[in-house]
């Protein structure tokens, strides 16, 4: 199937990787979140010579960029509110693991409610909404046509927020549906399905009006994600299964949320921004094709590795272990494409905030995926299953990869939507280092502590309590890391609000964003 689908498209080859550039633009970088000085630096990095850029096309693109303004701002702004709330829940839950007598007087604040509230708010509120926002913004860029049907996505964002609100309140009030990643009652999920379906409408309406022949790789991932998520959520919420079958369904769903929803949204953004900011076509278009279909084929079957050692048929866990290991194929394909595209332009990572976030995210994608394949092996899983190691790994995927890519994307997108530059480069730097170092302090101690916890549990000679006591210093380090990450989010959110309100100082050189409009910096673009 992969072969067949791939084959009849094979000839398109490298042409398709260039559709995201304007005529003559290839070789020129693009990043609105830099200072003028940084941008000068960057342009000396980029190959010069025989650049005859179609300025008309660029001017048109500036207008296209704003055609999704309302829906994209809805999805992105909402996502940042959920990010702050989710971070708060995360820090509280983390602290509770080593301060078990803190905030215990009310059931609403018990660990068993704050923790699922954290997961759902960051997964469906922050990550999903930001991913959809970035995806919608990419649509006119990918198809070189104005966004059509944006109002559907705006309504979708409102419905999604209603669903998030109902679901979060339900979890905190004790009306959880009981399955991990599916805690929201079905009444809340109805809103998410409708909201997600409405978000897909402008994608479909614009794709039929597109002015490019080829669909760039980011478009495949976007289409895939928006096809898969409703299928997953609807199937998971139908009352088809109980007991053991339900557990299988549970992890089929939960891992597919990562693999077939967040990952394609994140890769769509990474494939676009890495190529666009470095001004290079992606390293190998053919590889990206293989990576996409292999991801679809293998990632969709890995879920049951969460039940290794559980009461499920051997063939089923074996299937999931095999496909988990096979995931190396799409991961290496994506890794080669991302990293080899950046490599010749690596210095741009130092000057471009968007590229720094996205490249850090892409590197953590490679790391998280390889780690996940290893973790699915029976012998490794015997140690890591049921421990904090898995929690650290999950954050490497959803935070290290997906959230970093989203941060970088938002730095690129927001100025183009509101025609206002990011006022404080230092705030972007501070955000990056707070979340990067904070996440390091979160991830490494928790992984080590989780591994030690697992080995202690496997040693029948040691009492179970050993596995609890030994994790304490690592859990405290995790809280410290989580607090730093949360501070980073506060910096990010404040900066975001400044741009939304078109406030803050202006920098020393005219921003590239406004070039070709004749007016001074940061003035409203006239259509």
């Amino acid at each position: 199937m992969v072969w067949g689908l791939a084959n009849d498209q094979w000839g398109d080859g490298e042409e398709a990787s260039k559709v995201i550039f304007a005529e003559g633009e290839l070789g020129r970088g693009e990043d609105p979140a830099q200072t003028g000085v940084q941008r000068k630096d960057l342009e000396s990095d980029v190959r010069s010579g025989k650049l005859v850029i179609d300025e008309e096309e660029l001017a048109e693109r500036r207008l296209l960029d704003r055609t999704g303004r309302r829906p994209v701002l809805w999805w992105l702004t909402s996502s940042i509110v959920w990010l702050l709330l989710g971070s708060l829940f995360g820090v509280v839950a983390s602290l509770k693991l080593h301060l078990p007598d803190w905030l215990i007087q009310d059931a609403v604040l018990t660990f068993g409610r704050i923790r699922p509230a954290h997961l759902n708010v960051v997964a469906y509120g922050w990550a999903s909404m930001a991913g959809v926002g970035v995806g919608i913004w990419l649509v006119p860029r990918l198809f070189k046509a104005p966004l059509v049907g944006g109002q559907f996505a705006t309504v979708g964002a409102i419905l999604w927020n209603i669903g998030m609100f109902i679901g979060t309140v339900a979890v905190l009030a004790g009306f959880s549906a009981g399955l991990e990643w599916l805690e929201f009652p079905w009444q809340a999920d109805v809103f998410l399905v409708l909201g997600g379906a409405l978000a897909a409408v402008p994608l479909l309406m614009t794709v039929v009006r597109r002015r490019v022949h080829h669909l760039y790789v980011s478009a495949w991932y976007l289409i895939g994600a928006l096809v898969w998520f409703p299928m997953l959520l609807i199937t998971a919420k139908l009352p088809l299964f109980i007991g053991t079958e339900q557990a299988i369904m549970n992890w089929w769903f939960a891992h597919n949320v990562l693999g077939l929803w967040m990952t394609p949204l994140g890769l769509a953004a990474a494939y676009y921004f890495i190529a666009k900011i470095t001004g290079s076509a992606i390293y190998s278009y053919t590889l990206s094709l293989i990576g996409f279909w292999a991801l679809a084929l293998f990632y969709s079957q890995v879920g049951v590795h969460h039940l290794i050692g559980g009461p499920v048929p051997t063939w089923l866990t074996t299937l999931s272990i095999v496909t988990s290991v096979m995931m190396v194929i799409p991961v290496v394909a994506v890794a080669i494409n991302h990293h080899m595209t950046v490599l010749p332009k690596w210095r741009m990572v130092l000057t471009s905030p968007t590229l720094r976030f996205v490249v850090a995210g892409a590197m953590m994608y490679t790391f998280a995926s390889i780690q996940g394949s290893i973790e699915a092996l029976r012998s490794v899983n015997a140690v890591t299953h049921f421990t904090h190691y898995t929690v650290a790994h999950a954050h490497m995927g959803v935070y290290g990869f997906f959230s970093f890519v989203l941060f970088g994307s938002i730095y690129f997108i927001l100025p183009r939507l509101v025609t206002w530059e990011w006022p404080h480069i230092w705030a972007i730097e501070l955000h990056f280092w707070l979340v990067f170092l904070g996440f390091g302090i979160y991830f490494w101690p928790l992984s080590i502590g989780g591994w030690l916890q697992g080995t202690a549990m496997l040693d029948a000679a040691r009492p179970f309590m050993d596995s609890v006591l030994l994790t304490m210093p690592y859990l405290k380090a995790r809280s410290a890391g989580g607090i730093l990450m949360t501070l980073g989010h506060v910096v990010f959110a404040s900066h975001f609000i400044l741009v939304l309100l078109r406030m803050g100082p202006v920098s020393e050189l005219p921003p590239k964003l406004m070039q070709g409009f004749g007016k001074g910096r940061n003035s409203e673009v006239k259509a």
Binding site: G112, I242, T244, P313, T314, L316, T387, V391, D459
Partner: protein, 219 residues
Amino acid sequence: MTRALGIIAGTALILLYATMLLLIMPAIQLRTGENPPAALQPYTEVQAKGREHYIALGCVYCHSQQPRDPGLAPDMSRGWGRPSVPGDYSYDNPHLMGTMRTGPDLFNIGVRQPSVDWHMTHLYAPRSVSPGSNMPAYPFLFEVTDYVPEGAIEVQLPPEYQVRGGSVIARPAAVELVEYLLGLDRTYPADELPQAEETETEDSSTTSLLDSGLLGVQQ
């Protein structure tokens, strides 16, 4: 790639294929809801209520309910019970297998810790009976009173945890939750597995189970 429809059809078909493989085939093979083991009793009304508290309080985020095979982990020698089999979950909706062991497995806690008093004390003040535990206390499942009504369960507490001038009694939610925990007992023999004693020491029997392949149960 030039055709959006091709991508839509391809992605949907691949997920359908994976769903057949991962959801439909195991469901056809297992049918756990249809053949509950004779020794497994459905939850009583009180236990079912207790189970709802277990879900609402999120116990599942720290406690698994799926002892593993001795070939994989020493769950049996910790007293957590024999490896669970699909039929053990015949009445479980939602399932509560869990993915974390911040605390111990609870699949057979009713057998391992059959004392109502211990559970009450443990829920009210976990560290009074389990030093070093990081389980949260659940004071909202109890109330402090100066009069213990007839039939009420008074929480037994060591001196340093006692409330001055009052007794701590269990609210209905605590009673129901403990009733559920005490009912957690899957020690009856599982027909798909050898008896516990055989597998505990011998690795060879574990290997032969692995060899049994398709219809065997996950080790």
